[in-house]
Amino acid sequence: MTRTRVFEGKTDYIQILDENGNVDKALEPQLANEDLDVMYRLMITVRQFDRKAMNLQRQGRLFTYLPVEGQEASQVVSAYLLGKQDRTFTMYRSHGVFIARGFSLKQMFLMWMGTEQGGKIPDDLNDVPLEITIGSQLPQAVGSAMASKILKKDSVTAVYFGDGATSEGEFHEALNMAGVNRAPVVFICENNLYAISVPRRIQTASKTIAQKALAYGFEGVQIDGNDVLAVYATMKEAVEKARAGEGPTLIECLTYRFGPHSTSDDPSKYRSKEEEEAWVKNDPVLRMQRYMQARGIWNEAYEQQVLAEAKEMVDKAFEEAEAEVHVEPEDIFKYVYAEMPENLKQEMEYLKKVEEEKKELKK
């Protein structure tokens, strides 16, 4: 009888720019000032959009909204590293990914106003509409990545999901398929510590989410998701690896949403004030400011200018969206099939009739 070790795994945690602004020079990615400027502006735009959207929902002008504030770095920086030919699979909180990918702010407002035109992917983008159902986008993303490999397209797929999604069967099926097929996909898990109110510690017995990749035969890495440099370096490597045909990577971004899960959630019921305040000090935007300041490309004047520009863009986009928004009850039926089947036509006619009757009653 022999007993030999057949598998031994390791999972790294990466932080390059720490909370106090210290940089690990050995790991620091080579970033041009222009890249930093663009990424910073994107993050500020995301934050302005996010705050505006929350306000608008409270005023009854958006139906519902799921804020992203606090998670901008992991979304914006990772998406920034993707090219036009690449593809993202996203979820309801992926506003940062959408903005970094080049969706118009107007369209995003239209989406959260519940209009069909808001959900349409612009013709010049290769991305897929966001997923509301937890984890459904994962197998789809792997399928898409496998397709691009089979078709020999130079396209990498990035898929975004939360910590809660890792408990879904789809996550495991997707990782298995990706691993065994060496699919060109990057799994980006934004671990913001809560699946709505379920804390990470009762989500899985694993020490990290990243280590789950090992079971499927590829690399997983846990990073400081509020550290733009760590996100940049890790994502860059993962994208290059996928593009070179060397298979998938799972990146677990440790981050935190500052706000509620959604506009109908009250996080004070499951998070402490102290915890929230500690994370606000760990704000990815603040940390990036410090890094850029150290490089001599951030000051108060620049900040005011970036902020004003972002605010103006967001306000203007909403004005345009509100002027354009036009929803008819028939929209519910219109966009499912290229040609509307008979049963939907009948339902639509019935709805119209009911609406007419309601109008009659009001007179």
Binding site: K52, N55, R58, Q59, F63
Partner: protein, 431 residues
């Protein structure tokens, strides 16, 4: 022009919110997107920002008020502008009512924990264990009427007993009578007992307990329909002659104190046909798979009483003349309506006649009185134009319907049986 800000749905499907705090006083300058007020919904406390800049000229609710979605929360306007907004009928009263209502009385916490079905208040109705409900149902007591003495007003078995003993429930008496002796008759069981009005999904309903008599009818009807493939054959008889005969006989009978209806004639006609076609005076023996032809003729008569259908039986009808039949019909009908029929008087039938026509109807499809094999239905005699030898004449027409067990009897046989009945009704000398 003042701008009225209405409380939006700040969650998903929120209908109202409680005003927690005004963040700005009346008269304050407001910037666009500046938080103005805090509202607590059933999900969370949210700050509500103003959609536009202006002066807060009026706060339309006070701290602690419950504001419905769509109600005006505050108004913005020019500095010094007065609010002249008045809530319309559909808006504020709802909230006012809510405020002035005293808190709903709370059901005291039960001292002991009980299975959840007992605690679930079924739309604020009676609390009782399933065993108690069953007991009340068996006693014929509507549990809604019983005052509960248990924790939280729960009705106990003792409460039901006490209620039944007090005689408050009329059903109590009936139930004990029914359970009393075999002498109790079908007709004496009440149609319903202890009904009560309750609300179901789409509106108020009344639940009626089914009496033993009703249940017995139902069981026999079901057994009949589910075991025998029913076919109903329909025919007309020209009874103009019979009508004349009966008119004359009626006066004679009346002189003897007998009420002569058409029914004795119909029974006579049916008896003649039954003797010609013995398979109609029969029952099917399921166990032996035999048709049991009865050599006696007991004719059942369906009688419509206040308590439901009752079928008294004329024994040995073939041995009775018209007047005797008439007398027996009168006696049995009266007894049925006054619930004096004895069990024996409702048993042993071999063929049934239902005189549904006395109430109304053009045709009917009667259900066979299980375990008999057929039933004859008689409709009202009507005066109708009939072509007789190329001339239209006014004739008296009676419609007859015959339901029979098609498993035992073919359509041709049934038609011939019916013809035999019709022949006798059209020519009373054959009776």
């Amino acid at each position: 022009m003042a701008f009225q800000f209405k409380l939006p749905d700040v969650g998903e499907g929120i209908h109202e919110g409680k005003l927690v705090k005004w963040l700005l006083d009346e008269g304050a300058e407001v910037k666009a997107d500046q938080p103005v007020v805090e509202v607590e919904t059933d999900k969370a406390v949210v700050e509500i920002p103003s959609p536009k800049a202006g002066t807060l000229i009026k706060q339309h609710s006070k701290v602690g008020d419950v504001v419905k979605v769509g109600e005006v929360l505050f108004e913005l306007g020019e500095k010094g502008e007065q609010s002249n907004y008045v809530a319309t009928k559909t808006e504020l009263p709802a909230a006012t009512v809510q405020k002035s209502q005293p808190p709903a009385p709370k059901i005291p916490t039960p001292l002991v924990s009980l299975p959840s079905p007992a605690l679930s208040s079924e739309g604020g109705k009676v609390l009782a264990t399933p065993a108690t409900r069953k007991f009340a149902s068996d006693m014929g007591v509507g549990i809604e009427q019983v005052k509960g003495s248990g924790p939280g007003g729960r009705v106990t078995i003792d409460d039901v007993k006490a209620y039944a003993a007090s005689g408050s429930g009329k059903a109590g008496g009936a139930a004990s009578a029914a359970g009393g002796a075999g002498a109790a008759t079908y007709a004496s069981a009440p149609m319903s007992s202890a009904s009560s009005e309750v609300h179901e999904d789409f509106g108020p309903v009344e639940r009626m307990k089914i009496s033993g008599h009703r249940r017995a009818i139902g069981e026999r009807m079901r057994k009949s329909v589910y075991t025998m493939p029913h076919v109903t054959h329909m025919e007309e008889a020209d009874v103009t002659w019979l009508v004349q005969v009966r008119e004359r006989a009626k006066a004679d009978a009346a002189a003897k104190g007998v009420k002569l209806t058409y029914l004795p004639f119909i029974i006579k006609a049916a008896l003649g046909a039954l003797k010609e076609f013995p398979q109609f005076n029969a029952r099917f023996d399921e166990a032996t798979q035999e048709l049991v032809l009865r050599k006696y003729y007991n004719i059942g008569l369906a009688v419509d009483t206040d308590e439901g259908l009752t079928v008294p039986v004329i024994k040995d009808a073939d041995k009775k003349d018209l007047l005797a039949l008439a007398e027996e019909i009168t006696r049995l009908s009266d007894e049925a309506r006054t619930r004096k029929l004895k069990l024996e008087e409702m048993r042993g039938g071999t063929f049934t006649i239902t005189n549904i026509g006395s109430v109304g109807g053009v045709y009917a499809t009667p259900i066979i009185n299980y375990p008999e094999i057929a039933i004859l239905g008689v409709m009202k005699i009507k005066e109708r134009p009939v072509i007789v030898e190329k001339m239209v004449e006014s004739r008296k027409i009676m419609t007859l319907v015959l339901s029979y067990d098609h498993a035992m009897i073919d359509g041709g046989v049934a038609a011939r049986f019916m013809n035999a009945v019709v022949k006798r009704l059209e020519d009373p000398t054959l009776l």
